[in-house]
Amino acid sequence: MLLNIDKVQKSYPGGRPVLRDVSLTLDQGQTLALTGESGSGKSTLLNLAAALDSLDGGEITLDGTALSPLDDRGRATLRRQSISLVFQQFNLIPSLTVAQNLSFHARLTGREDTGWTAHLANRLGLSELLPRYPENLSGGQQQRVAIGRAMAAQPKLLLADEPTGNLDETASATVLDLMLSLVADTGAALLLVTHSQDIAARLDRHAHLTGGRIA
């Protein structure tokens, strides 16, 4: 078991609890779609799993490491080494070129494989765009770079929060296809937040979040 979310609770200051008692597991190589109404806490859960935020209760274990005892630095190391993230937007570092963005995470982990990165760029159709800066890319291109960067780091777990939320249908289909095929190729696990039943249907498993619990 790669990811084990166990009775997790989370509330924001001054608000009702968002996650009351959420449990979920994800195995190596598995893909899981997380759906739920807007505001149901999908992003919150994903961020917790990504060690970006701290839990109020319960525990999340990633590849045998419990997250809650970790300090800021420990979590940063975990993110760097084991997790890749793709968000709805603002994934890229604005001051770096597409090429630099692509390899940035991999270089942070020290696992840079230039051949693999070039292959990814090729597969994602980014070869032409390498010297450009993110602000000069379309939304779909940006998301492809984000996926490329995520995969270049060869993560164990890929977390994606509505990666196609900003895109039109064709673009979103392309992006999703690429992501799924890359995940399949590398054997990484995928937790994907989405609103779309169609997308959810293409993944191995499906979880629905409502009332702070997995239905």
């Binding site: 970006l52 800021d72 760097r80 570092i93 001051s95 630099q100 940035f104």
Partner: protein, 804 residues
């Protein structure tokens, strides 16, 4: 609706109090420093104007006797030959601890002076009989009148605020008694209306010299350089202050974009919004301006006494150290605050007005286009070149300052391109991904920071330049004092006769008695003081010659040649080998040029015999005395006792040097104060720029954080970034500062004072300044870094979740 919109707009400031404070402080600093300088200049200028109006100075030609006072009989003879002249007797008087000038004019023939008119038109006009006959009346500024009032041996005093401080105006008959110079006249002013057919001066009074009003150096001319200097500093501070305003307004607008979009979506027109925001800015400008005026008033009040002392010491310009609040000044201050604020906000306002209703995030637009940067840099280079060309093509102080302004502005404009270039080099050399990102990120941030960095560059360059100038000047001046003040004692006798007695009495007791005798001549370039010297090693060994020909001393002492001071040499372009005409029939070859600081007028030295030939019978009242240094104190006292001389009539070399240096140091107090303030303001500008960039930082930082860097790491990088940019700027500021110093020493000083100074380098000062800069940058970045360190992850996460 207007009210609702107003409330919405103003609510922003309630939530961002620090920002509001920063904006107001920025406006206040800019207005304050500028207004302070304006107030100081205006006050000093008003003082000269008052003095020259009050005393009708510089309006008439004058007749003088180079060898001393003019006897009364000569005045009557001139009058009876038809010459319309008015007599003036001047002198100084010690009253308690104050030294006051006495100006005695023939009230009957002298042109009406404002003070006299004022007194006569008052409710209780004095009887003319009292003014003109014994004991007479003294007119003095109210505070001096009070001081004088306690002296029972003085004639009654009439206070008048139409007089400069430290001056007593009275009838010449009264002045004769007061100064104990019966039958003597210092100078005659030539009245504007002269009758037909008067004989030429050379026929009836060949010993008198006519000095044209235009060739007399007037105070305004002399002090222009000083004021230009202050104005330049004021402008610099103002510009630096505006950087702060620009930064803060930019931030406030960026943060209010969302609100404005919503307001527009709700049907408020853009025109209305722009109008209302302009009104809001106007209000803020007025509040900030008012604060600035208060600041400026007190700053000027604090600096004015030093300025007054400087102007009095350096130029003998009459300035009272009192600040008066002028309504024009207040209006001008508020206007400049408003103009500055609108200028600094214009860009942001323009961008806001162009913002499409449904725009995306758009924050990335802060990245400056490389082409724009190149164009700016080219303009900068052109300005620098233009500056140099101006200085070479045109003469004069204004050209000098134009050059400095061109170089400084040009360098500031080139700065972003230079920094960007430096960063791209560093980026290329960088190995790790994080370092690479840091450099890239810094480059990306440059446009937002460059204004603040330009401000820093200017402040630093000004500091280095002015500091180098002052220190070089001081070093030169100290060395020059050592050369120039060779005598151990200097004594001033009451009159020629006492002078002779003193010389006789001293002769057997000391190594040498060197008479110091001088007369005032008129030269094309202005008044010229001619000194006579006797042959002595003191001169041959020590005199600070900067240009000389062979056997300079032998030729001067043989009466064949003359030495002139640097001011005269540069002003009239006279150098060794040229001729100097002292009087129509007295022309001597120039054998050498000597440096002569702290003196605005021309000077020349001839042998004592030659001086006697030019002006027979000139008084010798001053002497330099050479003796063993350890005997100086004892001899000074002996002299005072023997001849009943007042304390200040016998001065020791050491105290003379100390006094000179004290005056010197005072001269630059204002300059250094403004220097430090400018640097402080530049530091503050960096802080505000960083705060401005803060909101725009999150989208830059959040992805990096998400990819596995801790907030502590990022905070450290923030600090490092600011310090590094400051350091780079400081490194670039050093050569700029040295160029500025060179310009000040070799161009401005020559134009303003008539002397060129050697340039010395003071690396310790640079190191100190460098450290100070890094500290300032560190402090400025500390607040944003601390904020980053304590930032809840949720805030970073918002970047990914919400559209901004």
């Amino acid at each position: 609706m207007t009210w609702a919109v107003t409330q919405a707009l103003l609510s922003h400031w309630r939530r961002h109090r620090l920002q509001l404070a920063t904006l107001l402080i920025g406006i206040a600093l800019a207005t304050g420093l500028w207004s302070a300088v304006q107030a100081i200049n205006a006050e000093a200028r008003a003082s000269y104007q008052r003095a020259s109006d009050q005393l009708a100075l510089g309006r008439y030609d004058e007749l003088r006797d180079p060898s001393g006072p003019i006897p009364l009989a000569r005045y009557v003879a001139l009058r009876r030959a038809g010459w319309q002249v008015a007599a003036v007797l001047e002198g100084s008087l010690q009253v308690g601890d104050r030294r006051v000038q006495v100006l005695g004019v023939d009230m009957v023939t002298y042109p009406a002076l404002p003070a006299v008119t004022q007194v006569e038109q008052s409710d209780t006009p004095p009887d003319p009989a009292d003014m003109l006959t014994a004991p007479g009346r003294l007119l003095a500024a109210p505070d001096l009148a009070q001081t004088l009032g306690v002296r029972s041996d003085f004639p009654p005093i009439l206070p008048s605020d139409a007089l400069p401080s430290d001056l007593i105006l009275t009838d010449i008959g009264v002045a004769e008694t007061l100064l104990n110079q019966p039958g003597q006249i210092s100078r005659l002013i030539v009245l504007p209306d002269q009758p037909m057919g008067i004989p030429p001066l050379s026929e009836i009074a060949p010993d008198l010299e006519r000095i044209n009003a235009s060739t007399r150096l007037d105070t305004t001319q002399l002090t222009d350089s000083f004021h230009l200097n202050l104005t330049a500093f004021g402008l610099l501070s103002f510009a630096v202050g505006l950087f702060i305003v620009h930064g803060t307004v930019g931030l406030a607008f960026a943060q209010r974009r969302g609100m404005i979009r919503t307001l527009r979506a709700l049907g408020v027109s853009m025109r209305r919004l722009v109008w209302m925001i302009t009104a809001e800015l106007t209000l803020l400008a007025l509040i900030g301006g008012a604060l600035g005026l208060i600041l400026g008033f007190f700053l000027a009040g604090a600096l004015l006494p030093d300025v007054a002392a400087t102007l009095r010491g350096l130029y003998g310009a009459p300035v009272d150290g009192q600040m008066r609040l002028q309504p024009e000044w207040v209006v001008a201050g508020l206007a400049i605050a408003l103009a500055g604020t609108l200028l600094a906000s214009g860009h942001a306002l323009h961008r806001l007005s162009r913002m499409p209703l449904l725009s995306g995030a758009g924050l990335q637009a802060w990245r400056g286009a490389a082409s724009g940067r190149r164009a700016t840099a080219l303009i900068g280079l052109a300005l620098i070149a233009g500056g140099f060309v101006t200085a070479y093509a045109f003469e004069g102080l204004v050209a000098g300052f134009a050059m400095v302004a061109g170089i400084l502005t040009g360098a500031a404009l080139v700065l972003p391109a230079l920094l960007s270039f430096a960063l791209s080099l560093l980026q290329r050399g960088a190995r790790g991904p994080v370092t690479q990102w840091v450099w890239a990120d810094m480059r990306a941030q440059l446009p937002g920071l460059s204004l603040a960095l330009m401000a820093l560059l200017l402040a630093l360059a000004a500091n280095i330049g002015v500091g180098t100038m002052v220190s070089s000047f001081r070093l030169t001046f100290t060395g020059w004092l050592d050369q120039r003040l060779t005598s151990e004692l200097y004594v001033t006798a009451a009159d020629d006769q006492q002078g002779q007695q003193i010389a006789q009495w001293l002769d057997p007791q000391v190594d040498a008695v060197l008479p110091i005798r001088s007369i005032e001549l008129a030269h094309l370039s202005g008044p010229l003081f001619l000194y006579g010297i006797v042959d002595h090693q003191s001169y041959r060994q020590n005199w600070p010659l900067i240009a000389s020909s062979d056997e300079v001393w032998d030729r001067v002492l043989a009466g064949e040649a003359v030495l002139i001071n640097e001011q005269l040499a540069r002003r009239s372009n006279l150098w060794p080998g040229d001729d100097l005409t002292l009087k129509p029939d007295q022309t001597l070859t120039i054998a050498g040029v000597y440096s002569d600081y702290g003196n605005p007028t021309g000077q020349a030295i001839v042998s004592m015999a030659q001086l006697d030939r030019i002006a027979p019978g000139a008084d010798t009242r001053r002497f330099g005395i050479r003796l063993a240094p350890e005997r100086a104190t004892e001899m000074a006292q002996a002299l005072r006792d023997q001849f009943d001389l007042p304390r200040q009539a016998v001065v020791q070399q050491a105290s003379m040097k100390a006094q000179s240096l004290a005056i010197f140091d005072k001269t630059f107090v204002v300059t250094s104060a403004l220097n430090i303030l400018t640097l402080g303001v530049a530091g503050f500008a960096i802080l505000t720029s960083l705060l401005t960039l803060w909101t725009q930082r999150l989208p830059q930082i959040a992805p990096v954080w998400a990819l596995g860097l801790t907030r502590a790491q990022l905070a450290r990088i923030e600090l490092l970034r600011s310090v590094l940019l400051a350091a780079l700027t400081a490194v670039l500021a050093l050569p700029l500062g040295l160029v500025l110093a060179w310009a000040l020493l070799a161009v401005i000083n020559v134009q303003a004072f008539g002397w060129r100074l050697p340039m010395y380098l003071f690396p310790e000062d640079w190191a100190y300044l460098f450290a100070l800069t890094l500290l300032a940058a560190f402090i400025a970045a500390a607040l944003p870094a601390l904020r980053l360190l304590c930032l809840p992850p949720a805030d970073l996460l918002k970047v990914f979740a919400y559209e901004r």
